[in-house]
Subunit: 340 residues, 4 copies
């Protein structure tokens, strides 16, 4: 941590600060520049000291505090440079294999779920997605089938062999969802729901952590650190688009985040082109881009009849479109050296 | 709702759509323009039909769907044009009286809490704030004293007579927090935590709902609608700044939201200049601006020793600064015709 | 155009509006819904009537005006569905061939320019880029060599046969730059410099129009329409990243914009991964993504010694890195059916 | 400037860097921390060395470069702590007097201009605004009356005694506009049009510099530095709203910027509530807020018949609304100790 003093800071204030730091056990490195005095603080373990930054910034004679180290550790690249590989019922996530998760936004009925599960399996998807508990912006919208939806997902798994991923939104549901799901999904609205992160961190199931729609990459990795800090290292990050001023698309897909996460963290990184665009017509192209950029996998919405879908119809692919997409990403995965 | 057909839509597709709409019980108003056909859908109650928009946008021959009505009802201005006034232990919120809530970010100890409570009371604040459960970006930071903090807040209330507001973050804590708090606070990270909104909606205590840092005003009002839909109409909205590209301040205070909420909703609207700026030096000016713009109240952080604060030190006012602020907003409140 | 009346609008106001519209020569289509009256305006040519929207929104009894048609025409997809293909000294831009433009941010000296030109040519680039007039955030930074730089670019063209692209920033320089450049570049800061757009529109040279860093896709296409409206249809759009709250990267690369532009416009669309990321370590991955998504080309910064570069050093590739990138995008271009 | 080395940097690399710095004439202050080596660079005049930051960031063994000093000097607070006061034909700008500039968006005819000028003068406005050259997002919209409009503005000045402010958009028009205008206005789209900034900097007329809609406060002050660096210190900054995800308002008014600019710069700071909201119904409230926050002045759009306005109708005040606003801001100006 580096503390930059205000030009008006006095020698007495500088000494007060350095004494305080020494009494807390830090080493001090003082640099008196032409226009500013800079105090280097040596030995600060910044992961557990973010409040220190705020405290020193609160001093009237401090202009700015610059943290030097990353505010996360367990999910940082140096912690496991070889990268995390997760195995879910035989499906490999990370480690050079492209993994595709697909299914409907919401479980609506046995028929539509089984039809979708059969189809996505037939064209090569590896994991079945589907929502039983759904966040909806309006309180009057459908909020999912709940446990009945989870049971149908489990039935679809029995039928197809595909592991299942489904969202959990409430700390009180973690146990229930965990009875059925192979992978927990934490949605964008809950990325900073720290109680929920700790709860899935205490489980021993893989967790897909979607990026908050207005969260920086650093905050996202700190959210992952919450899960890891409870002992669960099987975390899959998922970029699903962020909020910007652009209105033609539902979100702006931050594709930079894919290689950025790869250089900052050892965790696998997925892309969700359905939410990242919000427009079915853009999903194929953006999926190709995500694979070429190095994503470890995709999560996609497909529905037998998007125009009858209770949610996310505009961004769900028809079966034909999903089949086409699976064909289109294959040569790109090969071109970047991934197995599919 | 208005459905704009794609220029390439055929007459058969148009008829299929209108038949479908009629079979769902809607009236139809068809307008054939020079370049587009537009289908007006009459009778759609759009609060509970947001999924309809998505379904029709999913049709390949539909270019765009334009909702006409607001997606909220109970919290909309027409539902209660005279405005909501809330009474908490004799303190009036809304209705032309300026209400100031103040206190430390976090309850740290009895001494600092009581000292702060006494001070804010002495200079005219109406409600005591303080966090017992704290959201922190880092898993390694302090997360609050929990129930011990709630007990201290209750003690501070007994001592000063000030009602207390404190944050609840987990559905499982609503009952516990409700035993002590006079007003629930829902933080920015939980604005779209719909389980939590429903839970505080089922209580009969006032709720302050902070705006999500990347939520539109419309989404914020829909979040309030979640609470109201459970029967709890005592909701206080609070603008606390949104995420933008600007880095000099912690957030960008969207002051436009104050008069915007006043024309869209009957709920009282507060401002949180501490979080909206993240810099103590800007809090006084922005508080003055919020009052002049018509805010029903302010919520502010103050601490006996900001540089020792476990959290939010850089944005907490010293007591002197807080006392000055109370003096500075008084003539402005009078200038806009409010009581203080 | 659709005009939605305020619920409080009277019949007299509605009639006043429809009379006014009829007197301006528009057809009217009136729809009285349960809660709103909607006036469809038929015959409005909205490209030249954007001020109409504002006028009607100014009426106290109008709630909202919804434009139906796109606010651009010449650059819209329906104007030339087969797509624009541009030929610059034998280099094809658009039409299924991937085009790579590369070179230094700024022309610094003959040696570095010729060395770079020779290298990028040797590994397969098609166009040489280099700045002679440079926009700099600081008035004290280097602003380019001016005409001397243009002359060096022309010399590099003679030497390598590569056509050259260079930025023009001032209406007064269009003639001078046009004497040397094969393609004008309009930078992100000047996307809405309408005088400059008109000036390059009046020339008969191709223009690369970079997206404004805070401009929507629609505004970008309207800026292109400025150029086209002067008779110059040889426009290349270039996505170079937009401003968001993310700070790890210099900009957020809006990859959604590539397929979005392809469905809205007939113009070729390029990507600029150097500016879109601002970090050399991310450029290769994002370039691969752009090609896979369907970009017609890339524009990239490379420098013999990035750490000696007078500008944009952190995002400039070394020669080795650029050569590697050319190798890495080739199989991806093939995978999406493009020639390279 | 502080250079943070990569954890993998070798001693040889560190020495190479420090030798390079010494050979450029800088002092070095080396700090070897537990996990990082930090190089303090002493004597760097960072206003003219922004490219240095980029060069050092380009080194493969450098993790990050942290500038310490502000990248502007002439417009910074320490350069003139007492604040800049500008006098335009007897009207004081800055220095504790509130200044209101008002008029139509665009000069449309003598009648409407003179009627507006007479009215705004009668209710106490100090400067007349009006556009003769207008930026329009669409090439097919009205672009202003040009010199004829300037002549009408000059006539309105003769008639009322009010100084006039009008926009200049093209370097080639600076001389012409300067013949008529008392104050140049640089619009939001041209904040980073550096040629234009230099041109008005070379004039000896006051310049109002609007903030770019996606520019940080720091970039805005650097743009002002461009003008000042040419010798023209009579600069008025104007916050007019920035681009965010919020769609209810045209822009988000960054009211934090007002006190932020006051602590960073000595230049007067105005607010433009018309553009900052884009909605007439919000202008009064936001104007009150801007004054209470400490703005030195307001610039506002008013029109005899907003619904006939050729531009910005939805945000222009009627005369009655403008008169009301003048009444409403008076007690607030007094409450914050300003003269009006």
């Amino acid at each position: 941590m580096i503390i930059i003093l205000d030009p008006a800071a006095t020698a007495a204030q500088r000494d007060e600060l350095t004494s305080d730091l020494k009494s807390r056990g830090y080493g001090i490195h003082l640099s008196e520049g032409v226009e500013r005095t800079i105090v280097g603080v040596i030995g600060a373990i910044e992961q557990d000291k973010s409040s220190l930054v705020e405290q020193f910034e609160a001093l009237p004679y401090v202009e700015r505090v610059v943290p030097i180290l990353k505010p996360y550790k367990l999910v940082g690249k140096p912690f496991k440079p070889e990268g995390t590989v997760i195995n879910v019922r035989g499906v490999q996530i990370g480690g050079g294999t492209l993994c595709v998760m697909a299914g409907p936004c919401t479980v609506e009925s046995p028929e539509m779920l089984f039809e979708t599960a059969d189809y996505v399996k037939s064209v090569g998807a590896h994991v079945l997605r589907g929502g039983a508990f759904k966040p909806s912006t309006s309180p009057y919208s459908f909020h999912g089938m709940g446990e009945a939806g989870l049971k149908l997902l489990a039935e679809a798994r029995d039928r197809t062999g595909l592991p299942i991923i489904t969202e959990v939104m409430d700390t009180r549901d973690v146990e229930l969802v965990g009875k059925y799901a192979d992978i927990f999904q934490i949605g964008t609205r809950n990325m900073a729901n720290y109680s929920l992160l700790r709860e899935v961190g205490a489980s021993r199931k893989p967790v897909m952590l979607k990026r908050g729609w207005a969260s920086t990459i650093e905050e996202w990795l700190q959210a992952a650190e919450y899960i890891a800090s409870q002992g669960n290292y099987e975390i899959i990050l998922c970029e699903r688009g962020i909020r910007t001023f652009e209105t033609y698309t539902r979100n702006t897909f931050d594709i930079n985040a894919i290689p950025a996460v790869k250089e900052l963290s050892h965790l696998p990184i997925f892309a969700d082109p359905s939410h990242a665009t919000g427009r079915r017509s853009l999903v194929n192209a953006v999926s190709r881009g995500a694979v070429a950029t190095g994503a470890d996998g995709l999560i996609l919405e497909t529905h037998p009849n998007p125009e009858k879908s209770v949610k996310d119809g505009a961004q769900s692919l028809t079966f034909d479109q999903f089949g086409q997409l699976m064909n289109d990403i294959r040569p790109i995965a090969l071109a970047v050296g991934m197995k599919l």
